[in-house]
Symmetry: C2
Subunit: 344 residues, 2 copies
């Protein structure tokens, strides 16, 4: 079972392999007569020829492949499972890439540096990395001369492109909103708060809003765990255990909120009657939830689209070392917040 190669096409069309290559690639430096062009195309069609992209990338150093790295929350844990955000982002990335004629090489990020293997081994034209922290071994990546786009990361490096959102501002917006509704004691629930991580920025935004309003920062109002439904549940338990001191809570992800709401309900508490809540992301879940979640909306599809665009632009023009796109956020009011009256 011999796969038809460029030589077969060449023979069939009575031209050389290079001519076939020129025709197929529309090589701008070469000019092919209309006659041979049609002859070649006919042969291609007749033989059902499809170029071998591995071979092509071997000689041309372009692969039409974009590497996508999605974080694994924990070792041994599947990615994306815990948060629909990743699924939505990946959809958008895949779709955009495909429109542009690119395929995706997908990998979860292991603790070790599977970063590199995907990039170096496969000769991808660019890499999109979602949510890395500073200090993870990105140094090797830099040497590899492949455009890298960091999505939702606070690693700042003049050799990496950035797609992000105003995490701090978004959180501030959320908490301000709660304050505007009369809440005075507001909790903060998130995944792990790491130096220069997204949750840290959101925590800062939370602090900003409280300070602006002259409200005290309470140690006991902060809950930090993992970004998943289960932790939302546990946070609710913990909230009750700590005495239900806050009348409202800001959660850094909609999945967390889902768990939190459920956990509260299991203990006989309701949202927004007993606790008001604003969360973050506005994945489709937020709208499905009951109550539907008031949340900080980010344009996930745009994020994915932009990531692909930037990586491809950078691949086309290697002079572009660093670009930064911070996408706007807005608060979407739904049903998880109620007014809090003084002295209640």
């Amino acid at each position: 079972m011999h796969r038809v190669s460029i030589k077969d096409v060449a023979r069939e069309a009575g031209v050389s392999a290079s001519t076939v290559s020129y025709v197929l690639n529309n090589t701008p430096t070469e000019t092919i007569s209309g006659e041979t062009r049609t002859r070649v195309m006919a042969a291609v069609r007749k033989l059902g020829y499809v170029p071998n992209l591995n071979a092509r990338s071997l000689s041309s150093r372009r692969s039409n492949l974009i590497g996508v790295l999605i974080p694994q929350t924990e070792p041994g844990r599947e990615f994306m499972f815990s948060n629909p955000f990743y699924g939505e982002l990946l959809s958008a990335v895949e779709y955009t890439a495909r429109q542009r004629g690119y395929h995706l090489l997908l990998s979860g990020t292991q603790e070790d540096q599977s970063y590199l293997s995907i990039a170096r081994n496969r000769g991808v034209d660019g890499i999109i990395i979602v949510g890395t922290y500073p200090g993870e071994n990105l140094t090797e990546l830099k040497r590899m001369d492949v455009p890298v786009v960091l999505v939702d990361s606070y690693v700042r490096d003049e050799d990496f492109h950035i797609i992000g959102i105003e995490d701090r501002e978004g959180a501030r917006m959320a908490v301000r909103y709660l304050i505007g509704k009369g809440h005075r004691r507001i909790g903060f629930i998130s995944g792990s708060i790491r130096e220069n991580g997204v949750n840290m920025k959101r925590y800062q935004g939370y602090c900003d809003a409280l300070q602006e309003a002259g409200l005290p920062l309470e140690k006991g109002a902060v809950y930090s765990g993992t970004v998943d439904y289960e932790y939302g549940l546990r946070a609710a338990e913990e909230y009750v255990r700590r005495g239900k001191a806050q009348s409202a809570v800001f959660l850094t992800a909609d999945v967390l909120s889902m768990g939190f709401v459920k956990g509260l309900r299991q203990m006989g508490l309701g949202v927004p009657d007993d606790v008001s809540l604003v969360s973050f992301d506005d994945v489709y879940l937020a709208n499905m939830a009951c109550p539907s979640l008031t949340t900080v909306h980010q344009d996930i599809r745009e994020k994915g689209r932009k990531a692909v665009e930037v990586v491809l632009e950078a691949a086309a023009d290697r002079e572009k070392r660093h670009t930064e796109w911070i996408l706007p956020l807005r608060l979407v009011e739904r049903d998880s917040v109620r007014e809090w009256r003084e002295g209640e």
Copy 2:
């Protein structure tokens, strides 16, 4: 910026390129002295050599790449977006593949045959296709001598491997359960019901259960649209418009149920008080929903794991032309069904 190649390593170690290759691949037919082996490894480490997998696959005809094709519900629509099922499945596939040293080449399936491009162009070692219908141009695939695993498809072909579930039986189980709870008029809500498609099987299971119980099949009890939240909403509207004739409904996907529940609520109806409901999949949504959904549970992670295993086994042993794995289903009772008393 010269990428270090096998030749560089060979030079550094004072051996030939093939020796390096033997060492790196542990080629079983060749036997390398411990001394050269360590020398080669030292050179590899020193130079930071990483093999170019494109080149390798070009000459060895193995790519360590698995192609994954996920359906786009509609042209121009992103995959996975509409149903978390795909995300969960993909997670499991990616995770398993990575454990085995494989990367994933991901593509949504376009209307046309992007099937082929991914397989032929890239020299993947195997392909996992999710949810195709008979008649979609799979014939070309057959000629390509690449193992193909069809997940959730009723295409039956001795050259394709199959991973599926007992769709018909699962649906029957669900509807029987409702009947057991006293319901006599039961609706069916699904995506498009196509010949030999998953929804058709589930529809048949629905009919089976009704017939067993001697209940009539009502035309007006069947709702068919797309598998997404929005259609769930619309189905709820339609249900009310048609007069709320059924006391219970079987929906073929949890996302649909999410929409349906929401739609009902918007019109002042509650689940399970006004309408009981059983759905299908048991994605994480099912548990998050309120009420949490009584649903037919399928083991999505196992499905993904199995798909990878089968495709790799088939790649290793091309004699294996056709294997079939039908995974078990079970009903998970939660809170979306209530007893229906005679004459209510």
